[in-house]
């Protein structure tokens, strides 16, 4: 579904971000991407839809090469949502905002897709409100709903849980369960391991240009060196559970 073939990339002021990165992500997987800030997590997302082109190697998304195809075409394969809702909310009603992606990708009946996505994130009552009449947490959910409305096979989110309080986290987890069942490939860049470890199929650690770990979350608990080396600590809760006779990572819906 998504293939990175020995990608090397460096920004203008010569900090090397990636060096011969090579990995594959199957359709229907949920990948949690962690690593120290500045390790290129956001750049990784920008490589997915050609906003950033690699210096060498190629990224294939849904069989399309990001070198040959424009971002507008790749946006139909993978919908990338960035961290700050204020950088994308433009419309004067919640529904118009959610309708934007399906409309610009020429999907059939975009309004229904938008309403469906808003229902998934419990925003359907506020469909006619102005996005800035909602709380910041609900505006964040709106950006997630706008991406889901585009109905792309793959979805990539940069820090989807930031600004969300507990009720919105539960809505997010519920929505991701539904997306998982409908076979979507989901990539999540986040530092909130406590929230996403239970629901991801594999964890990718990006640390100074390389993928130092790419395996199931249980394997992460057994071998915590790559995590510790990347400066990210396993949440206190997961480290304590074994002492109380519990599995390190609770199964979803715990």
């Amino acid at each position: 579904m998504i293939q990175f073939d020995n990608i090397s990339f460096r920004y203008a002021h010569d900090i090397e971000v990636f060096r011969d990165l090579r990995l594959g992500i199957e359709a229907g997987e949920q990948i949690l991407i962690v690593g120290p800030s500045g390790a290129g997590k956001s750049t990784f997302l920008k490589l997915l839809n050609g906003i950033v082109r690699p210096d060498s190697g190629d990224v294939m998304v849904g069989g399309l090469s990001t070198r040959k195809h424009p971002t507008s075409r790749l946006a139909a394969e993978v919908s990338v949502t960035f961290q700050n809702p204020a950088h994308q909310i433009f419309a004067s009603t919640v529904l118009q905002e959610a309708e934007f992606a399906p409309k610009s990708l020429q999907r059939k009946n975009p309004r229904e897709r938008a309403q469906e996505a808003l229902r998934l994130f419990k925003l359907n009552e506020q469909a006619k409100s102005h996005p800035y009449d909602l709380s910041l947490a609900h505006r964040k959910l709106l950006t997630l709903a706008s991406a889901v409305a585009a109905d792309t096979p793959a979805l990539a989110f940069d820090e989807p849980s930031v600004n969300l309080s507990r009720p919105e986290q539960l809505i997010l987890l519920e929505a991701f369960e539904v997306l998982k069942k409908s076979g979507k490939t989901i990539l999540i860049v986040s530092h909130d391991l406590e929230l996403f470890l239970p629901i991801c199929t594999r964890v990718l650690i990006l640390d100074d240009g390389k993928a130092t770990f790419f395996d199931a979350p249980e394997a992460l608990v057994r071998n915590q060196n790559p995590l510790r080396h990347s400066g990210v600590r396993l949440p206190l809760v997961h480290r304590l559970r074994p002492y109380c006779g519990l599995s390190p990572i609770p199964h979803p819906g715990a």
Binding site: K46, S72, T81, F82, A86, H87, Q88, F100, L105
Partner: protein
């Protein structure tokens, strides 16, 4: 001789008006004098290498444009003595002097503004304006503008990336690109309004009501006093204005 902001400001005003009064060849001499000022005279040396790069790039760009203007005007305008050129074109003396007059004036204007802004960081200018009686809110606005000038362009590119990733037609036909223009300006304005509301609360929460004056780093030079030098330049500026009006009336 320490030039403080007030003196440099009145000198710049005088130079701008002088460029309108002088004929083109004296303007040319004045331009060369100003270039010499920039390198020889300490208070006028550019403060940061960014302003140095900017001013030398602009100076060379303008010199080329002046030459271009002179030639184009010479060719197009038909008054005055016409010197035949190969290929049936005529170069009119009236056109050439017209091009040179405008070009030299533009060079002097550009150079005097570059001298002032290149060697005076905006905070020093704000400090001077406050000491000569500008309302504190206006001074705060000028300083806050500097902050937004640093942050707005980055936010524009972040919004550009976020909207393009969602399928915004940033590279399609002109109609679609105009729609994309709105798709980028709308989040920029909304985030600007929200930031303005938060910033106004933050200022009030730390006791800012436009009552007390703002303090600046190292309150040394500009006391806002009207020195002899700045008085001299202001008088000269008024003379220039009178000259311009008289010449316009008698024309």
């Amino acid at each position: 001789m320490r030039f403080d902001v007030g003196e440099k400001l009145s000198l710049t005003l005088f130079l701008l008006l002088l460029s309108i009064v002088l004929p083109w060849h004296l303007n040319g001499v004045l331009f060369l004098l100003l270039v010499l000022f920039r390198y020889a005279f300490r208070p006028f040396r550019p403060v940061s290498d960014a302003s140095r790069r900017r001013s030398s790039a602009l100076a060379s760009y303008l010199t080329i444009v002046v030459l271009l203007m002179t030639i184009v005007n010479g060719l197009l305008i038909k008054e005055g003595t016409l010197w035949p050129l190969p290929g049936g074109f005529t170069m009119s003396s009236e056109g050439v002097t017209f091009g040179l007059r405008t070009g030299m004036r533009l060079l002097v204007i550009a150079m005097s503004l570059l001298l002032f802004f290149g060697s005076t960081p905006i905070p020093r200018l704000a400090q001077f304006l406050q000491s000569v009686g500008w309302p504190v809110q206006m001074v705060m606005t000028l300083l806050l503008t500097l902050h937004f000038i640093d942050t707005v362009p980055d936010r524009v590119s972040l919004i550009f990336t976020a909207q393009e990733a969602r399928g915004a037609p940033v590279r399609a036909n002109i109609l679609a690109r105009t729609k994309a223009f709105f798709l980028i300006l709308s989040p920029l304005l909304l985030s600007g309004i929200v930031e303005s509301i938060d910033r106004s609360m933050a200022l009030e929460l730390r006791g800012f009501h436009g009552g007390a004056k703002l303090s600046f780093r190292g309150d040394e030079t500009s006391r806002g006093r009207m020195t002899m030098v700045s008085m001299l330049f202001l008088i000269l500026s008024i003379l220039c204005i009178v000259w311009i009006i008289l010449r316009w009336l008698l024309q």
